[in-house]
């Protein structure tokens, strides 16, 4: 897939996630629309793209790896919530590498561990 300027490469890990989830037509359309949004945002501003369309960079990763929530049609949200797409923005090569397609709960353990660490660091028992 390419828009003439930015190339999109499908990584094996993304392909594995995609095969596992086997999205229906409606979901696939939402995924495709999201990827087009990302391409448009990165084309317009490769160094500081519009985050509504490009998503958010993961912290402390030199703004290379990003995640974007996929806006799903209401009927497809289900109990698992919105899908996420993680991608690698290779700025110099002008290439987007799709890395993961996942639901928030798929990474919930990793996220919760960091939240617990954060709370331990900054939530103190009041002293009397």
């Amino acid at each position: 897939v390419a828009d003439g300027k930015i190339t999109v490469r499908v990584g094996p890990t993304y392909q594995r996630d995609h095969d596992r989830l086997s999205p229906d037509d409606e979901t696939q359309k939402a995924i495709d629309a999201t990827i087009l949004d990302i391409i448009a945002a990165l084309s317009e501003n490769p160094n500081n793209p519009d985050k509504t369309r490009a998503g958010k960079p993961f912290a402390r990763d030199k703004h290379q790896t990003w995640k974007r929530r996929i806006s799903m049609p209401g009927s497809n949200m289900g109990k698992r919530g919105a899908l996420r797409l993680a991608y690698w923005w290779r700025r110099t090569e002008r290439e987007i590498v799709l890395l993961y397609l996942y639901y928030k709960r798929d990474k919930a353990d990793l996220l919760q561990k960091e939240i617990d660490d954060a709370k331990k660091r900054f939530t103190r028992t009041p002293t009397t």
Binding site: K56, F58, A59, K62, T65, A82, L99, L110, I115, F122
Partner: protein, 151 residues
């Protein structure tokens, strides 16, 4: 994040939360409590200040790796988690109460509630970008995925 804004936001959320908690859950016929305008104005303030706070938190994600210190990232993760948990509680409880007609429909306007729900999703996105970015395990997974993609 701007400390004053954070405290102001905490106050607004606390205010709305306190209003909701002030209405005791009870069985029997639904009764209407008159918070006319008070709850709505608090919710508007939550939305407005919440937007400012999310903008500040997004700015943290824009900083260079060197500026994203452990202290800053973990503090922000603590704050955003508190915001997500508090706002989710308020929205869920308020929606239940509005459905049971325990608060007037005019004090739980669907448009404003949708805006606040979208704001919570925005905070959840920030929470995830911070939390997974801090995770050594996630970083390892990403590096392997990148290497696989280039093979």
């Amino acid at each position: 994040m701007n400390e004053t804004q954070n405290l102001d936001f905490a106050g607004k959320v606390g205010g709305a939360r306190a209003l909701i908690e002030a209405v005791p859950a009870k069985k029997g016929p639904a009764s209407v409590f008159s918070f006319s305008l008070v709850l709505t104005s608090q919710l508007r303030a939550v939305r407005d200040v919440g937007k400012l706070v999310s903008r500040d938190m997004n700015a943290i994600l824009d900083l260079s790796d060197e500026s994203q210190t452990d202290d800053l990232l973990y503090r922000t993760l603590t704050s955003v988690t508190w915001i997500v948990d508090s706002m989710t509680f308020i929205l869920d409880e308020g929606t239940k109460m509005a459905a049971a007609e325990r608060i007037p429909a005019s004090d739980w306007p669907p448009g404003l509630i949708t805006e606040i729900r979208e704001l919570v999703e925005e905070f959840e996105d920030i929470q995830e970008a911070l939390g997974l970015g801090l995770s050594d395990e996630f970083k390892k997974q990403v590096e392997l995925a990148k290497a696989d993609a280039l093979r």
